[in-house]
């Protein structure tokens, strides 16, 4: 019950950290969506680019998060952003690219060519086919990619506390340093809850956004 007691004593601080955490993650994911989805769409037009982009994104995924944060510091300190939220966001954006790009690309490519043919045959422009047929049909798979990116970012975001980005990781690392179990637990449980809740919210939004005609 000490964890609960810790939370009651420090709920204000916990919410603060959760807020920071949420802010870093949502900034990162928003940027990742607005870059990853267009990249995913763009590479459907170009097989060579697709291979390259997916390869690079795959490599970034394999870099351990702590190492990526480490790389960020010297790179971004050139611009005066070595530590803090900026490198954290940049790193999370990079991590989020793979699931988002890969799902966007796969979903659009998987649209039945006959359905695209019907659209083109009725006089849709390339853009209209994309906007009215391919994207709506790809939406749920793209969404699945975004969900993976969000949940992953919430987890990795905890590590960003190491480079001074704040967030719930702060409790975890400080707790480890001080061997203060209640603090560690409070941080980890909050991160886990945040991930589960966000995933649930995204599932709900997805349900509203994706056409009923695509549900099986």
């Amino acid at each position: 019950m000490t964890t609960w007691q810790f939370f009651l004593d420090n709920w204000h601080h916990t919410l603060d950290l959760a807020g920071q955490h949420a802010w870093v993650v949502s900034m990162a994911v928003l940027i990742a969506i607005f870059t990853g989805v267009p990249i995913g769409i763009w590479i459907t037009f170009n097989r060579k680019a697709a291979e390259m982009v997916l390869y690079i994104a795959g490599i970034i995924m394999t870099i351990p998060s702590i190492a990526l944060f480490g790389i960020m510091i010297p790179l971004l300190s050139v611009f005066g952003y070595g530590i803090g939220t900026v490198p954290a966001i940049v790193a999370l954006v990079l991590y989020s690219q793979l699931p988002i790009i890969r799902n966007t690309y796969a979903a659009i490519r998987n649209v039945d060519p006959n359905i695209i043919d019907a659209g083109v045959g009725m006089g849709m422009t390339r853009m209209q086919v994309l906007g009215r047929v391919q994207l709506p049909m790809a939406l749920s798979v793209i969404f699945a990619g975004v969900r993976v990116a969000v949940v992953m970012s919430i987890g990795i975001g905890a590590i960003a506390a190491y480079i001074g980005a704040g967030g719930l990781g702060h409790f975890i690392f400080m707790g480890i340093n001080q061997s203060y179990d209640a603090m560690i637990n409070c941080g980890s449980i909050a991160v886990a809850l945040m991930a589960v809740a966000t995933d649930y919210v995204f599932g709900f939004i997805e349900n509203r956004l994706v056409s009923k005609g695509l549900r099986s």
Partner: protein, 384 residues
């Protein structure tokens, strides 16, 4: 309306043309059926017309305008297109699917609403029930109807239909074909229609184009293909039973014996029986005073009787109408024990008689070069 001149298509990376030097003209208001075995180039030929596939050489004209001079997007918006695989948009309702081209052409919502209902009625799907369904909630046949309705949405003068009834079982296919022909007789579109099925081709086509390995083998009316196949390939394709297939094309009117021997119900039994004996008839049709078919009498019924023929007349339970096709008539005839079937018009007026002899004559008839069919065999008239 649609004219192809020496059209050839060679897909990149292949050296055998998929469509080879085809000349073809589709008249306004006609259904031109493209038929041939799988892979012979039907779809390729059709897709060159709306520029989905670039032409390798040759020219296609629509209304005397080279299609290359028309913006492809514009062109396609004015040609109805129903693809082989139906291709309904799964994320859109029936309404939205049908509204696709009207929306591209920026129709007002009210006009689209009306048009969607009109089209759903046309393909015999209750608008209130189907408007808001998604494609996954439709049967194959219903989906195919929506595909056809979608192609017709803006009432385009030209339609390309790639096996539009391909996914439907034979019974429902017949129903759809009949519906479609009925619609076509009102709207008179210029239609290019692909099928695998020679029966469908004969039934639907004003003209049939038979393709083989990208080449046009024969182009002509269904009757020309059946009666005058150009070579062995065409013969094989239309089938050994092509004489029987002509039954689909011919109407009772074409084969019936007009003005058949008959008597009136008020005629005297003895004189009628006498006349029948003289002519060697043991069966005679009986009309009422207004020349409507009342029934028939047999010689045996009249034997040693007196009075009016009307008193001995048996009703004719199975009759056909002159506009019915011969195939239906034949099947009725086979169930009718006296081997003839009588044609009456809608008022019941006696029009003619079909018997096995006249049928055999008509079916066996070869096409005569001068465009005439066969001499009408008129016989008998009133027996007294």
């Amino acid at each position: 309306m649609i004219r192809l001149e020496k059209v050839t298509k060679i897909y990149p990376g292949t050296n055998v043309p998929a469509v080879n030097d085809v000349d073809l003209e589709v008249q306004k208001g006609e259904i031109c059926v493209l038929i041939g075995s799988s892979g012979c180039g039907k779809t390729t030929l059709m897709r060159m017309i709306n520029r989905l596939i670039p032409i390798t050489s040759g020219t296609i004209y629509i209304d005397d305008q080279n299609i290359l001079d028309i913006d492809p997007i514009e062109l396609r918006r004015h040609i109805g297109y129903a693809i082989q695989q139906i291709g309904l948009f799964p994320h859109m309702t029936v309404y939205d699917n049908i509204a696709t081209v009207p929306r591209l052409l920026k129709w007002e919502k009210k006009r689209i609403d009306e048009r969607v209902d009109e089209l759903l009625n046309l393909v015999q799907l209750e608008p209130a029930q189907f408007r808001h369904r998604y494609p996954r909630e439709l049967s194959g046949g219903q989906a195919q109807r929506i595909g056809v309705a979608r192609a017709m949405a803006t009432d385009p003068p030209v339609m390309l239909m790639d096996e539009p009834f391909g996914a439907i079982d034979p019974i429902n296919r017949e129903v759809l074909q009949d519906e479609f022909l009925k619609i076509q007789s009102q709207i008179k579109k210029t239609i290019v229609f692909i099928t695998h099925d020679i029966h469908e081709a004969i039934k639907m086509g004003d003209r049939i184009t038979l393709l083989d390995a990208g080449r046009l083998v024969q182009f002509g009316t269904p009757e020309e293909l059946l009666t005058n196949p150009k070579n062995q390939f065409v013969k094989d394709f239309v089938g050994a039973d092509r004489a029987l297939k002509r039954l689909d094309l011919l109407k009772v009117r074409d084969a019936m014996l007009e003005n058949p021997v008959h008597c009136h119900e008020s005629d005297d039994v003895a004189s009628v029986a006498q006349a029948m004996r003289e002519k060697g008839l043991n069966f005679l049709l009986v009309n009422d005073p207004r020349d409507r078919l009342k029934g028939y009498v047999t010689l045996r019924d009249l034997y040693d009787q007196s009075g009016k023929v009307g008193d001995f007349t048996k009703p004719m339970t199975l009759t056909v109408r002159p506009e019915q096709n011969l195939k239906d008539a034949l099947s009725k005839m086979l169930t009718f024990d006296i081997g003839i079937v009588v044609a009456v018009d809608n008022d019941g007026k006696l029009m003619g008689v079909l018997n096995t002899m006249t049928l055999a004559q008509v079916v066996g008839q070869t096409y005569d070069e001068h465009g005439g069919r066969w001499g009408k065999i008129t016989a008998g008239g009133k027996i007294l």
